[in-house]
Assembly symmetry: none
Homo-oligomer: 533 residues x 2
């Protein structure tokens, strides 16, 4: 089976998206996740252009990677410098990256108008830069910027640029559709021309999605002989984004008979996509092919019964192949089977006519109408489930809270303070704490009241919280009185859990999620928790 | 120029998306908007399947449409009935639609397993249904369900199904990639086979996006002889959606030399897309090709200076051709040229060495390190810009705010109250208000203090707010003390603006964004605002 190398540039070209901003540690985390997925190259950034990227290349050397090489990106050397004196090229060498991609102009109009050099000098810049770097790196790629526009305008010049890179030692000539304006048949024609004019070279493809064709163009290039695909996870990138590796990889593996990361690792695709969405702090795209939450969701009644009969009726692949799941929407049946499925996870083999199942379904439906969404907050669901199963233990009783945020003329930020009264074992505790904002103050005051009784709460840390203003059916009013859904992710060092609150008052939503988080921890550690059935 | 007919099924197949739910009036509005855009057919629904769709076909007859025919959708008649007695077929006739699409099984496995009929009977159902409807309608289309799967499994049977429809009078045989699993080369091959085996027939294409190839497949079909394309606006639809007409139409018109709606109407594309997003009450997809808000957005400094020199450098088409706009984003990756571009928009022709430009860049960089991100909040940027240009008018002076959220045992939610002291024209105003949560209370109290002096503030409404917990470089600590960025979208009925606040205290972030929103409104309306240069 023919092997196609996957070159991920989420950390470099992907971050050109206006929505994305990654720290060094974010980049390290994503690199390790992509390494797990089995991509062949992770382009970490442009060490010559900013401090974050430079630091990333140092930091990543502390990690052993199993599958991928980290690649550094940079441009050909500056016209007024020699390669030896070009700080940009030298920072690539200093980066310690085992692979490098150097981009150069290959559109005549760009060489003369953007770089202000003659066409001959442009070719020299390419040749010099590749030649200088060659001995310093294991694998060296040439990114032919605006290749397709260049090839249409002046094919001879464009081919000569590529030839110079090839002769100077570039391992792969990557044809970049920088403006994303090319049609698949243009890609096919150009790939064939390059392979014919530069015998022995390897070509790659770097497509952008401005015509909604980046995936098609990437596949067309592979079918015309390309051996490397550059793209990003979830198609992140400037303007309409880069070619989406989450679509390209399964198409190559499952439809077209090429090997990329291998079908065993392909099952990690959905998980990797979600992980990167989370780190980038973006909203997932519901309809995203293969890995989206709706990719295998069935709504229409006809479809659903057909899918239950035989999934190939309305599914082009088994969702498990890419680590995704079938979802059956809006049907009482599906609701029940979901609850039964969860019950089994928690150790109960319930009958579908069990009254507890009805209670849980009714609870969920009622709460979903005001904006609860349990798929994102399993710990809150688990508490709901056990309550319906008869668990009635109350670890503490809420009496009162009071939160103040006060700011005066010369303060840089408000002073936030909370007081809480809770009753534990019949005893009222009144505590106060200040914090970085009202939620933090409330959290501190509540724990202060509970920790003397439940010392294990000291292990709990809040890792993250997310706030989403609800739109759609559950949105009740516009502006600052909209309903918000708030998720809190907690950890005690052993496990992690997410809880949820919904209210048009953000303090109330936070309070619900905090209370659930603490109750979940106490419930989890409670040896007495299992209600008998 | 070859004419390709656009068949929009947003109102029928598009509403299979889990996110979309349209009323009769919504459907009427969308139909009229699509008529303005110049699509040839608008599929309004399945009158035999539900009351909303039935009502729509009655209601739409009250409107004169300029460009499109309304089309009704339905299935072949039931096995146990004759066409004459089939309520589904008769409801199509009663709908009064001038065009109809009838779908039938064309995959052998589906005919026998889902319909439980013999292959011969399946062909009869198609022939009878098309034949019965033919005299009642101007244009009649046959949607060959699962055509591509059927053609792979049993090409002879599938072609015979199509032949029956053609002979019974179908004007176009629409090849449906119902599961969305086909590759472009399979589409090409199948289109050619149908045109060869059924001389004289017209073919159409109906693609789904499960492989991220619906646009490519639709274009491939046209290039192989298809004359009708079925798709939806914004690619709405079940699972990964239908073929996106917002991408297909401009590709055909601007890239491939076909005529669809015509280039004059093409300039309404972005507006139509946005309108439908609004009616469907969905969040627009930022990176959507051609019509998305980021489709022609430029972030990187190199790109921006090149775009200003010559837009073809980094734009594959002129955004105005599809009614979209170029956007230049402000970010730490950007440089002077972005600021100069914005300055021009605000009426200043600044030199790149102007000290104001340096001040603004330094301001932006400093604020971006703590989490400000001006690309999302242009109004906050505009205030920053004019401050650097020497605008120093202060509409009010902050003295104090105080916010309380209190909840007691039996309250369903906290009571939120704010007090504010501001000085206007030398006079201190102390106001109080309660609200749905602390931010709403603060907003009300602040306006109460200012409206007596600035009555135009009564026009301002907060439309939306967004909260993002910052990760990445700007994230300072985990959990409830993370930095948050808060965006507030305001309107005064004439225009809309977005302002921003950043703090680890959500109250402070909200306050900053509220203050910016009010200052922006007052500044915008202030005839004295322009600082002289």
């Amino acid at each position: 089976m023919k092997q196609i190398k996957i070159y991920d540039t989420t950390l470099r070209d992907g971050t050109q998206s206006e929505e994305i901003n990654l720290s060094v540690q974010d980049k390290v985390r994503i690199t390790r996740k992509l390494d797990d997925l089995g991509v062949h190259y992770v382009e970490g950034g442009w060490p010559g252009s900013n401090a974050t990227d430079k630091e990333f290349f140092q930091e990543i050397q502390n990690y052993a990677l199993k599958n991928c090489k980290v690649s550094a990106f940079g441009s050909t050397h500056m016209n007024r410098l020699t390669p030896e004196n070009d700080p940009n090229l030298n920072s690539l060498i200093e980066s310690g990256a085992k692979a490098m991609s150097i981009f150069g102009k290959t559109w005549d109009f760009h060489a003369t108008s953007a770089l202000n050099v003659t066409l001959e000098r442009n070719i020299e810049l390419i040749r010099n830069s590749i030649g200088y770097l060659r001995p310093h790196v294991e694998e060296l790629f040439f990114d032919a910027e605006h290749f397709f526009d260049g090839f249409k305008a002046n094919p001879e010049f464009t081919i000569n640029c590529l030839k110079a890179a090839y002769e100077a030692g570039a391992d792969v000539l990557v044809l970049c559709d920088t403006n994303g304006g090319s049609m698949p048949e243009e890609v096919v024609e150009a790939c064939k021309a390059v392979l014919e004019k530069i015998p022995g070279c390897n070509i790659g493809i770097h497509a952008h999605n401005d015509c909604d064709l980046a995936v098609a163009n990437s596949l067309a290039a592979v079918q015309s002989g390309a051996v490397q695909i550059q793209g990003t996870m979830n198609g992140y990138g400037e303007r309409c984004g880069n070619a989406n590796l989450c679509s390209i990889i399964p198409n190559l593996e499952l439809k077209l008979g090429y090997e990329t990361i291998g079908q065993d690792k392909l099952t990690k695709l959905k998980e990797t996509s979600t992980y990167i969405t989370e780190i980038a702090n973006l909203r997932p795209f519901l309809r995203q092919p293969f890995v989206g939450q709706a990719a295998f969701a069935h709504k229409g009644g006809i479809h659903v019964s057909a899918v239950l009969k035989d999934s190939t009726s309305y599914e082009h692949i088994d969702p498990l192949l890419v680590g995704n799941d079938r979802r059956v929407l809006l049907s009482d049946l599906s609701g029940k089977s979901n609850v039964l499925y969860k019950a089994k996870q928690y150790g109960y083999d319930l009958d579908k006519n069990d009254p507890a199942v009805q209670t849980i379904l009714a609870d969920i439906k009622e709460r979903e109408t005001i904006g609860f969404e349990y798929s994102a907050a399993e710990a809150s669901f688990e508490l709901l489930f056990f309550k319906a199963m008869g668990w009635s233990k109350r670890y503490f009783e809420f009496i009162n809270f009071f939160v103040v945020d006060a700011k005066r003329k010369n303060d840089s930020e408000p002073f936030s303070e909370a007081t809480v009264i809770v009753k534990v074992h019949g005893q009222e505790n009144h505590t106060a704490a200040s914090g970085d904002g009202p939620v933090n103050a409330l959290d501190k005051a509540l724990r202060k009241a509970l920790e003397p009784f439940y010392p294990s709460l000291k292990e709990v840390r809040l890792q993250d919280f997310k706030v989403r203003v609800l739109s759609g059916a559950v949105r009740q009013a516009a502006g600052t009185s909209s309903n918000v859904r708030l998720l809190i992710e907690s950890t005690d060092g052993k496990s992690q859990w997410t809880t949820m609150g919904v209210s048009h008052n953000i303090i109330e939503a936070s309070w619900q999620a905090l209370v659930d988080s603490i109750n979940y921890k106490l419930f989890k550690d409670d040896p007495q928790k299992w209600p008998s059935r």
